[in-house]
């Protein structure tokens, strides 16, 4: 029994990747989506800062790995969200692996940016709305043996030793549970690109959603958050701005997801099916 699932990347060669027609930005959409990131029931997120803080009352204090805050409020850093979404987006679109060699021209590099190329997509820090704070003991992290050419999807179960036993939970970390809200801004994005981003966020427009994995302790089944669209602000072709209600945004998002599905190649469809299968297995 494993607690992770390795997914092979599509060909890293941009020329060999599926052409999604993303160069045509004439019909691009600009604006932002308001996204809610909600931790799954029984799960937490723990975006680390690398610092130690004291938890508990004096006399029974324990040093804990600090979780990220902004002006004292719990946050999910936008950089972490962007990285998590990009990784899934890369797999879905057959984009390059930027940690190896940035190509600057694949679908992910064109939308998310690359060295010397500003991206057209950005995530604000998601600020806690109704969040409970706490401290949990988790396994000591280890250097993951990442698959040579692919990504590792962790399921929602605990980390296991090779013997199948659970890894001992020793390390104290600050954790958050609840809902965070943050904006995702985009410029001249095509409906297909936005739909793929929504798929990468784990929102499948009525299909089988899978949780986005954020922050630390993902290898132990934590850091799982579901994403929903709470609102949108779009700049129209004639630059007339209209504010949309959440329901309307969902409808538009569904259209984007539909277009993204149509543009997906067979490899990406297989990946989505694989992800859905892993989620379903864990749930059942």
């Amino acid at each position: 029994m494993t607690y992770y699932h390795d997914v092979a990347r599509a060909p890293a060669d941009p020329a060999a990747a599926v052409d999604h027609g993303f160069d045509d930005v004439s019909r691009g959409i600009s604006g932002w989506l308001l996204l809610d990131y909600t931790t799954l029931r029984g799960k937490f997120v723990s975006p680390g800062t690398g610092r130690l803080v004291l938890r508990g009352s004096e006399g029974s204090e324990v040093p804990a790995a600090e979780a990220a805050r902004s002006l004292g409020r719990p946050v999910l850093p936008g950089t972490g969200i962007k990285g998590a979404v990009r990784t899934v987006f890369e797999v879905l679109t057959g984009s390059c692996d930027p940690t190896r060699r940035g190509c600057n021209s694949c679908a992910a590099c064109r939308l998310f940016g690359a060295l010397g190329r500003r991206g057209r997509l950005g995530f604000d820090d998601a600020v806690g709305q109704e969040v409970t704070e706490g401290a949990e003991r988790v396994p000591i992290p280890f250097k993951p043996r990442k698959p040579a050419d692919g990504i590792r999807l962790y399921d929602l179960g605990p980390a296991l030793l090779q013997t199948g036993a659970r890894v001992e939970e020793k390390l104290v970390r600050e954790v958050f549970r609840g809902t965070f809200r943050g904006r995702m801004a985009f410029h001249h994005a095509t409906p297909g690109e936005l739909g793929l981003v929504l798929l990468a966020l784990g929102w499948d427009g009525g299909g089988v959603p899978f949780p986005l994995r954020l922050g630390g302790v993902r290898f132990h089944g934590e850091g799982a958050a579901s994403v929903s669209v709470a609102g949108a602000f779009l700049a129209g072709e004639s630059l007339h701005r209209e504010r949309l209600e959440a329901a309307d945004a969902q409808t538009r998002a569904t259209e984007w997801a539909h277009e993204a599905h149509e543009r997906l190649g067979p490899k990406a469809r297989a990946v989505l099916a694989e992800v859905a299968r892993v989620v379903q297995e864990r749930r059942s």
């Binding site: 690398g50 610092r51 130690l52 992290p141």
Partner: protein
């Protein structure tokens, strides 16, 4: 306010004083065989908000294994113990004579000098690290133009840095230059 309480308050430290103290601390922290690195120092001190006793407790608890942090890999226990020994002694002996803001500056300088001091200083050290320097620092990870024949002679970026008397820390010359820069300028008219 009485004169006595005004005298008891710690005075503001000059930058030179802070850097000199940071240099001493960084040298003690970097001493072999179990040097503490910048990330371990920052983990403990970067959240410092003026509460010396809380910092002292954090050091003591983390080094004693509370919270499980000492069991992390990479010799983290030894690093925490070194931090507890060096910083703990400093806080016990001298913290009362420092303002909280100066202490925060001191920890920042100590981390910076600790980072600079971790630069390999000999060819054997470079070789021990696999011939690679860490990227993200001056000279490290410098891009080598592709194409053309590569000479067997080491390029400037491959050569080990010159020996310094304190492993990349500030020398007396640098401190003198810093003092010169920090000398108060004569007040201009109208001020």
């Amino acid at each position: 306010m009485s004169e006595r309480s005004a005298e008891a308050a710690p005075r503001q430290r000059t930058t030179v004083e802070i850097v000199e103290c940071a240099q001493r601390l960084s040298q003690e922290l970097a001493a072999l065989p179990t040097p503490a690195d910048r990330s371990a120092l920052n983990a403990v001190t970067s959240a410092f908000a003026g509460d010396v006793s809380a910092l002292r407790r954090t050091l003591r608890l983390a080094a004693s294994g509370s919270g499980g942090h000492a069991e992390r890999g990479g010799g983290y226990r030894e690093k925490l113990e070194r931090l507890e020994g060096v910083l703990g002694a400093f806080l016990d002996d001298e913290a009362s004579r420092w303002r909280a803001a100066d202490l925060a500056t001191l920890f920042g300088w100590t981390a910076r000098l600790l980072y600079a001091g971790s630069e390999p200083t000999s060819a054997s050290e470079v070789a021990d690290r696999g011939g690679k320097k860490r990227s993200g620092r001056p000279g490290g990870g410098r891009h080598r133009p592709s194409g053309g024949r590569r000479s067997l002679e080491p390029t400037p970026s491959d050569r080990p840095p010159a020996q310094t008397n304190m492993r990349g820390g500030l020398g007396g010359k640098s401190l003198a230059a810093l003092e010169q820069l920090l000398k108060p300028k004569p007040e201009s008219e109208g001020d």
